[in-house]
Symmetry: D2
Subunit: 481 residues, 4 copies
């Protein structure tokens, strides 16, 4: 078995929450289906009918986990849901979310997109006071903190817990009668608010990671949950809290570059539009004489279209993608050229023979896939291969919810673009500049976290640097099922 090559960073999660819908579980299912690109490892839904809470959680894709039986067990008008991607070592059903626990006052279920940088510290403090842990996720600590709070109102218990968190967290939380949607004060991860108006004028509320999930369920986009906001929805309708001290907003710019579905609007923009602009800006910054522009499908398609429009060089779908690629593949013993990448992509030779080719992708992480793609295009007969990347070099790992390799595995952290050009064996290599990037996403640059490009983390990350390893060494190793 080999894993199918993909050199993209990986989003860790999607979250959703529904309140006031007669088919809340079905709506959560639709949302998770639309947000499958944010996590393909596990998926879960918790619902409440106002009295009883029930949860269904499984490993795999949304469409494989939820059959009629499982959905029919999810009764009620409140739901939260979660899609998860995680690193191999801790890929087990115990870590899958939503996490549901019984506390003194009530049952609470939680779905978390993001990453706490003080997760290990919180965990150590809790354990010293006798708390026991069943998962190796930092999300479990949030539930412990809520349970520990002596506040009487659940709103206040949650606020007390939230104030102890550092890092990235877009959360949906539910009790038997309330739904909470929370974005950390930096606003790292997206969370949008929508509503569905029923045939009799009754309103159901939705909070989810991206607007594409609103579209599938026919919900109207209302607004984004703001950085540092806690939205509470209950019998008395929607209330907004701002429990955090004011801080600067630093939304994740990589949502635009790669993660978000092209049709989603988030952080005030449409992802596809931004991607085309990045491509156009790239053409302005590093235009070159060439015969055709070829996107790496599908991640480079929008930028390639922008590049082609701006440069006048025709776009050709010179690399074709196999749409039936799964997560693993059984490798033959005999070596085959460019094998790992060929499972996914195949060049159309007659477009490439003797041509000067501009290849467009959104980013380079380790450089492993880019390398094989370039080789493949050369083998197909291209005269020149010019690689253009619609974002700056990634020099630093993310601690705010994106799974990237360690700093030393990031090719641009130790190599200059010139060196990378030599490694990839391309005729030229151009990245988009940080300035070019910011010009596309905002007139006002300080609205985004661009730490992966410039190392300036909005929150100090010394703790975080080693906590990832600590989590990997946690000693619960369990296989249930």
């Amino acid at each position: 078995m080999i894993e199918i090559l993909d050199d993209h960073p990986r989003e860790e999660c999607a979250v959703t929450g529904i309140y006031g819908h007669p088919e809340a579980a079905n709506m959560a299912y639709l949302n998770l289906y639309a947000l499958q690109h944010r996590g393909q490892e596990s998926s879960g839904i918790t619902t409440s009918n106002g009295k009883k809470i029930h949860s269904e959680v499984g490993m795999g894709l949304v469409s494989d986990i939820f059959n009629k039986d499982r959905l029919s067990r999810l009764q009620g008008h409140i739901a939260i849901g979660h899609n998860r991607y995680s690193t191999a070592g801790h890929s087990n059903i115990e870590n899958a979310q939503p996490l549901t626990v019984v506390t003194a006052n009530q049952t609470i279920s939680l779905a978390h997109n993001g990453n706490l940088i003080n997760g290990i510290e919180l965990r150590n403090d809790l354990e010293k006071n006798g708390s026991i842990f069943r998962t190796t996720t930092d999300s479990e600590a949030i539930l412990h903190l809520i349970a520990k709070s002596k506040e009487e109102e659940i709103e206040n218990s949650i606020i007390e817990a939230l104030r102890m968190l550092k890092g990235a967290f877009a959360l949906t939380i539910m009790t038997h009668d309330k739904l909470f949607g929370i974005r950390d004060p930096n606003g790292f991860r997206p969370l949008v608010l929508g509503k569905v108006t029923g045939s009799k004028g009754e309103i159901a509320w939705v909070m989810c990671s991206e607007t594409c999930a609103l579209d599938l369920m026919d919900a109207e986009f209302v607004r984004e949950v703001e950085p540092g906001e806690m939205v509470v929805i209950g019998k008395n309708g929607l209330e907004s809290y701002k429990p955090f001290p004011k801080t600067s907003v630093t939304q994740c710019i990589f949502e635009f570059i790669y993660f978000a579905r092209p049709d989603s609007f988030l952080f005030g923009h449409n992802a596809y539009t931004i991607r085309k602009q990045l491509g156009a800006e790239l053409a302005k910054e590093s235009g070159i004489d060439a015969d055709l522009v070829v996107p790496v499908p599908d991640s480079g398609l929008a930028a390639a279209l922008g590049y082609s429009n701006e440069s006048g060089i025709p776009l050709e779908m010179g690399l074709v993608r196999n749409h039936y690629v799964g997560r693993t593949f059984i490798e033959p013993q005999q070596s085959i050229r460019h094998f790992g990448v060929k499972i996914k992509l195949n060049p159309i030779k007659n477009y490439l023979v003797g041509k000067k080719v501009v290849v467009i992708d959104d980013s380079i992480v380790r450089g492993t896939t880019s390398n094989k793609i370039v080789e493949m295009i050369r083998t197909a007969g291209a005269k020149e291969v010019h690689m253009k990347i619609s974002s700056p070099p990634i020099t630093n790992p993310c601690f705010f919810g994106i799974d990237m390799p360690s700093k030393k595995e990031l090719i641009a952290s130790t190599k200059s673009p010139d060196q990378i050009k030599d490694i990839l064996e391309v005729d030229s290599l151009s990245y988009l500049s940080i300035e070019g990037l910011l010009k596309c996403v905002s007139p006002n640059e300080d609205e985004y976290c661009i730490a992966c490009f410039n190392g300036e983390y909005p929150i100090p990350v010394e703790q975080a640097q080693n906590q990832l390893n600590l989590f990997k060494n946690l000693s619960i190793s369990e296989h249930r099922g």
Copy 2:
């Protein structure tokens, strides 16, 4: 689907623990295999190689859950294991044991046979102090209490926790480097100690619910873990603690009547021998003129043999059992006489036609199955049917680890033997007397709990009466997998 009729009370669990064996997981697997009769719903094994702990837990029979892959992941020389039976409502993988948690000092895994009567009270106290629960078992509270202890030594933390428990508990607990075996001070549930001597004289220790598990793994029976004893096995060998105040010993007499495998020795006796004596005593107390003695297979076989020997009435296997009966069955729409019981049992008519038949079984709980068996024997042509039960009428439910129906469902709690005789439509019905029962198991009657027959619970059970319902209403309802 119908459930296959069985009117026996159900044991809730088997536990095992192994220390110092190079194939500890395989030995735990053998033990659980031999103890499958004590729980068929879920099974699990946790092992430690001295550093890392790993757990494999699944739903179903031992032979279905553990394949080579799962066993090969269970590395190490220490293991604990658990078979579980549970009531339908909470039959889920989250509740399956061993339960493994991370605490401040170490990872702890626990397997529990029995039932705490202060489980809900402990849980409420813990939740008030911020503990969160992931299962609906009372066993999880024990782990919380251990985690809360400020003692430095794990022995002392466990002792501090144990002293807060009321009820029935035979436990095996392990940390990365130690194995604990504990019986509550009343000694409700059995736990035996054995050892295996390796080819070089090295000793591996075993603690498990019944001796039949020692036999399968070729272990030598050493002694029973005593009521109120905690055996600790670690690098320095075996140590014994007696952490509880002295109390009277009240071992569960139903282990002899029905639960234990006939080949097991426990509470100082062999189960098969006791059962034959119960049958012989029954013949003495209520002998009757009859043509043949027919056991309800297999639960009444040993008592029937004792009855036949004592009375001189020949034994005949006049009811034949289908050995391939599973837990459920798809029922035809058309009614079939005695259907539920006929799936399991079939009479041999030519032995019954025109005969006076003594039918022997070990106990009557609701009376539902007995009723159908009697009907079946009559339909087969018997002239007279005399039912003889090798234990007294069950008048009170158990709160110490046996799953029985509520008091009002117990036929003997509201009906006299004479009324039951009429309901079952037998020519006569005899139960063994309490005195007769005690004569067989002990010269000294106060060594056993006979509360199910006389209502004199060794520990006050007011709390316990409603706690079962409280547990059933606990609001975690989750399906993972």
Copy 3:
């Protein structure tokens, strides 16, 4: 993985057929459930509603294969069913029965218990004429022969085919509107006829391998299908054909010794009764002074009861069986005494220590299990072990539907009882004599095939000797599913 030791020959199949029942599939399911002991490898049901035929076939036990969905797809008032055991090499879903094929005139489905000795010869002839085969069963040839017939009436086509068969065959065959039940002229394998009378007097017919299947479905036993008879049931009721030339009847005596469920009546007798008589006869022939009689459970139980009654030596259940044994088991690396047999059986030591023990079993095939049982009883402390077998030495393999090892693997084919006694390390070994055996089953000895004891095959088996190997070499090797 080791296979659980069992030294019994194996029956190859059970068959059933239902006509005129509104829940024909459910009735076939009940029958197969009751006949599970005759084959545990695969199971299938075919039904017809008078127009359309549908079949559901799977690997494993009846209760695992047939869920509500599968049964609900089996519509109609006619059904046939089959349980199969087969040797490892050809254990695949393609070979599972009923086999259903489309011919020029109609769809035909067939279930076969038995073994053709001219199977390979028929197959070769058919292939030479262009027939193609999808299974490696001899049963498929029967369908080809029916399809080849130029007769217009299906009755005549089947008769034409039947006349070409040599060997053992109890068949149920169905078309869209008729049910056929057939026993070969020697009557090797059993087939009984029963009926169910509905609430309005309507009659449904059943044909199945043993009467225990009639009992479960509340059917009345009518008679046995006679050797050489073809019973046809259709719109005009039941018709009987005798298509074969007269030959001597040679029913399989091993049905009594081991295969049939004790509660079944077949060949005019009840199996349990015969088994007790075999035990009593054994006591008469080779009585010995001893302390107790211990059956090998459950195969030796009835004979042990007969032996105990006749000899006056008390019966003790000194070997206890684990009721949860599956087909395979994961073996530890470390050797454990008597391991293979201990998974199934465990001795109760205090009954055996210092005793002269008579151990009763029904037969010895290879001797491998007997050996381990004797060792186990000796290790438990018995002073003397006397093995008594309630049938004669098996000296020749069966070619008429029982799966036995080859002649050279049969311990009694090359060793005298004295030599076997030494190999088993018993103090004495006695088999029942052929005369003693026949005395129990019939006043007239020539009604049974006793070829496995005396080598006198009722049909010449030269062909058969090598055909088993030929079938094993057939080149379809396929895994579907």
Copy 4:
């Protein structure tokens, strides 16, 4: 459950064959993986090591069916493979291919892409002569014909059988020592020949449906198997036979329009290139003033690029596809606008609001999906919607291997383009003309079958018209597994 809306015709199969490769099964696996778009319902591989043939067949996707275990059982240097799509009624494992049978002379395995128009006739003739059928595929008849042949050489037996077939068939057939690749004389379905040269110069041969499968396994494209050619590969290398009388070549033009993967070369052309030309031709024929060109992803992408290039109207990816769509989906009870299509597609509103939009797709079959796509684009705010189809109106069903609805379900068979325009509620609707289509694919129009557009079937199809229904009524209905 609803099926995900897709209004495309469906290809029925992919075939492959490998000869002389040490990892033949792995190569077949790669081929089937690359050809997954031609059939997603079942998949199978048969291999031979020169002596023994083994087959593994399962339901679902290639990556789900073939694990390491199954591939490791497929030993040998010869392999054939098959991916199948089939209509619901006969979607069962028995019909999955390769089909393997035992004949008098040898075991034969066959994989078939296409459809026989005399399948029922052949089947009836065979059945009349006593052949029995196990599947409801027309492919099984081919095996019967081969088995019936009295020719001694397998080449001649196959040729004798082939000459009796009418219709579309691209076949790979294997015996224990030979591989056959065959295209019917009209050449309806594609089949290409490639080779892999090993490190020591040894050559392995491949025949498969499309060149994209050659690319993945690093094979060199040699040539297409010609219409009417039988290629035989054995110990003596490759031989070519032309067993059919000469007829006109009528290759399936729909392979270019929709089926073939864009990177494949077949019938002398590259599919992506043809598709762009169709789009350009469409722009020439029915150019219109508009703001943007939006493809229906991914089927309309290449044509839209051609249209955009030719017309100068900018291409926008205004419809975004969810890449994680499975075959079915659980529908909420509450109605959601455009639900069926929204699961797959979502518009990006800001590109469509107030715009004149040209929507490009490859074909319209029933019109059901197009309708919903248009509605969706209008709801998103488009001012005008102009639908352009890069092929002519489909007026007639296919009987040569493509699964289309019946004539009356084809919207263009009963409605004029004007009427369809009204039904779809578009501002304009244009199809490509037949002349325009032929101009793109060939200077010489009679090389293609365009019966679905003009009703001129290259082989009379009267028989075929009702045979599809006959196959659907065939009475084998079986579920194994």
